[in-house]
């Protein structure tokens, strides 16, 4: 029996097909967010992996910012519950999850069953979010996906003091004109994200083990600095970006067996 989880985020859509609530059958990511063709595309893409039909799906659960507008779902859940459940599926020992999404940062504490115990989110400000990294990548003219590797090559981290995206932008530009190394600048940008995220994580309390989910978890530079800031190792699964969709598929399975 198959369940399908779709995570329609602000900058990307993710989907996972789960067999019997236990085995990942197919996964797909489309780098388009809610309000675009991303949701439809990711659905087609994930079904195509093993040549499945939508009718094969016993239950479809959607999450993410586009969860209310997606037709054809059996139910919807918040991305927090889905991330919690998804990470629990990947790493059952994890009790603290940090998720950096396109426009939200979330710090979550979960119990052994993957149920949320508490959570905090950033205020309405792009500081420290995926959006912040997008803006910075654009200014220094590199691909956002390359930031992680670039940042790891830093020899002397540049201090980016502003948290406001607009001010940080001008600060980065002035550092650029002062001809600092791009690698050092990127590390500085990562440090600023790590500090912001760490503060949120501390506010929610950190219980080991800690994992990161969401697309920014793929940025090794941010993860390394965040580990430094919170003084703990952070687990990152190769499917970290899919945690929300995976959790949605798990929850869909559970809804069938309630």
């Amino acid at each position: 029996m198959f369940t399908l989880g779709i995570d329609i985020g602000s900058t990307a859509c993710k989907a996972v097909i789960l067999q019997d609530g236990a085995r990942v059958e197919a996964r797909a990511v489309v780098p388009l967010g809610t309000g675009t063709s991303g949701a439809g595309d990711v659905l087609q893409k994930v079904l195509a992996v093993k040549n499945r039909q939508i009718e094969d799906m016993e239950r479809i659960l959607v999450t993410g910012y586009g969860r209310f507008t997606f037709a054809g779902a059996d139910s919807q859940k918040s991305e927090l519950s889905c991330h919690a459940r998804g990470v629990n599926f990947l790493f059952p020992s994890v009790r603290t999850i940090i998720d950096i999404g396109g426009q939200d940062i979330k710090a979550m504490r979960v119990n052994a069953k993957g149920f949320l115990e508490n959570f905090v989110m950033n205020d309405k400000c792009a500081a420290g979010t995926g959006k912040f990294l997008d803006v910075m990548a654009r200014i220094i003219n590199v691909k956002v996906n390359d930031l992680g590797e670039i940042g790891l090559k830093a020899t002397e981290e540049v201090n980016i003091s502003n948290t406001c995206t607009v001010f940080a932008e001008s600060e980065v530009i002035s550092k650029l004109s002062a001809a600092v190394r791009i690698e050092d600048l990127v590390a500085g940008i990562h440090r600023s994200v790590a500090k912001r995220v760490a503060s949120l994580a501390f506010r929610n309390g950190i219980v080991p083990e800690v994992a990161m989910s969401g697309g920014v978890a793929l940025n090794k530079g941010v993860v390394a600095l965040l580990e430094e800031e919170i003084k703990r190792n952070i687990l990152v699964h190769e499917d970290c970006q899919l945690a929300g969709a995976l959790g949605a598929a798990v929850l869909a399975y559970e809804e069938l067996h309630k």
Partner: protein, 422 residues
């Protein structure tokens, strides 16, 4: 308020600055020593009637001053992060409060030594809300977290322009009286009214002396870089009622008079423009502020912040003292009152412009700037420029923005000067 901030001394520090450093060190040392002896030590807001604890010889330290010093040394970031993280305080409250509440938490661990200067954990709090209402909320949190009492003088707010009305003065005087009795009981010390009168007189001497010194900067070119005054504010906050402050101010006055006699100045470049600096200093960014001002030949000859401690009253008259504490802080006065005072200052100090620090931590000072700007422009005709910053939180200030705003102000001032001469 932070010591030894501003320009890196190329020459030896003037004698007055050495004395300030010694006095401050002694006050902190005495507080730690008293704490070690098991005596009670207090933390106080900056414009609290310090005369009472001075009379009773009870050591008191000042979190606002302490936060400024820590920030000027770039040691505040970690504390602010602790406040926003583990302690769960929103990042929008005053950065002094965030820094200090985190410090209060950290110093409960005797091994903690990262901040400088450190303060001993307090046994009581002295709260006057003349500077703002956030102080009241901040001290409520400290009181709850540490389980210690607050001695509170509610100083109200002068929403209109007239002097504090009779019923306000009576209420504040009654609080001061109650505070004296309560503090006698709390400390187990007898209040010496004769000594109190002496402390009051001494406080008046110090306030007036500092006022005289600041006025010497009316001269063009000014004998002092306006930022230098920040270095003496600890005297007014920590030691307004002490004789050692009189010694320092007399020395400072001598030094300034010498500069005038020799036609020298502590401002590190040619003074082409004189501006009024409005608002608290950006303590973590003072170096950049001063460097940029120097590069553009702008001397911030005067600022309203250094004059806020001029608590002017008649010694021996509690009503007069009550009235003074109700109207000393910039933030306890209506925008009309404060901005008309600023306009007077701009005229008296012959300023070409006003540079306003939109301080993210301080709603009231920022309101004065936004609401009162037209008063300055209409009454004095000088241009005003705003820049964003914060008294302690380094994440707000933008070097590029500061320079652009200052440059813009300079261009207007230059244009006006040329127009006036041509």
């Amino acid at each position: 308020m932070g010591e030894q901030v501003g320009q890196k001394p190329k020459r030896e520090l003037p004698r007055s600055r050495v004395l300030v450093a010694e006095q401050t060190a002694k006050i902190y040392r005495d507080a730690f020593a008293a704490k070690a002896r098991g005596e009670k030590v207090g933390w106080s807001t900056a414009i609290f009637p310090q005369e009472i604890c001075e009379t009773l010889d009870i050591p008191v330290l000042y979190p606002e001053n302490n936060a400024a010093s820590i920030s000027a040394k770039h040691l505040g970031g970690e504390l602010i992060e602790h406040a926003e993280g583990a302690m769960q305080y929103p990042s929008r409250i005053c950065s002094y409060a965030r820094l200090n509440m985190a410090l209060a938490d950290k110093i409960q661990d005797p091994a903690y030594s990262k901040a400088d200067p450190l303060m001993p954990s307090p046994d009581f709090l002295l709260l006057a809300n003349n500077s703002c209402t956030q102080l009241m909320k901040w001290y409520e949190c400290l009181s709850r977290d540490l389980g210690i009492p607050i001695f509170f003088i509610d100083c109200l707010f002068n929403y209109y322009e007239e002097k504090p009305a009779k019923h306000k003065i009576t209420y504040i005087r009654k609080q001061i009286e109650k505070y004296i009795w309560d503090m006698e009981a709390f400390s187990g010390k007898k209040f010496d009214w004769d000594k109190f009168l002496e402390v009051q007189k001494r406080s008046q001497i110090n306030s007036k002396l500092f006022d005289e010194i600041i006025r010497l900067n009316m001269r063009t070119p000014a004998p002092m870089s306006g930022f230098d005054f920040f270095n003496y504010m600890s005297c007014l906050v920590l030691a307004r009622g002490k004789e050692s402050t009189t010694v320092i101010f007399e020395q400072l006055k001598k030094e300034v008079e010498e500069h005038i006699a020799n036609n020298t100045t502590t401002f590190p470049s040619e003074e082409k423009y004189r501006v009024h600096w409005e608002g608290i200093a950006c303590w973590p960014n003072l170096g950049h502020n001063l460097k940029t001002l120097k590069n553009y030949n702008v001397n911030a000859v005067i600022n309203g912040y250094v004059t806020a401690w001029n608590v002017d009253y008649e010694p021996g008259d509690l009503d007069s003292m009550a009235s003074a504490y109700a109207s000393s802080s910039t933030n306890s006065l209506s925008t009309n009152t404060i901005m008309n005072m600023r306009a007077d200052t701009i005229e008296n100090y012959n300023c070409d412009g006003m540079l306003c620090h939109v301080n993210r931590s301080c709603k009231m000072m920022t309101f004065h700037i936004f609401v009162g700007r037209h008063i300055i422009e209409e009454r004095t005709g000088v241009p005003c420029a705003n820049f964003d910053g914060d008294q302690s939180d380094e994440r707000i200030y933008s070097e590029a923005q500061f320079e652009t705003r200052l440059q813009g102000l300079v261009e207007i001032m230059q244009h006006r000067k040329e127009a006036n001469h041509g």
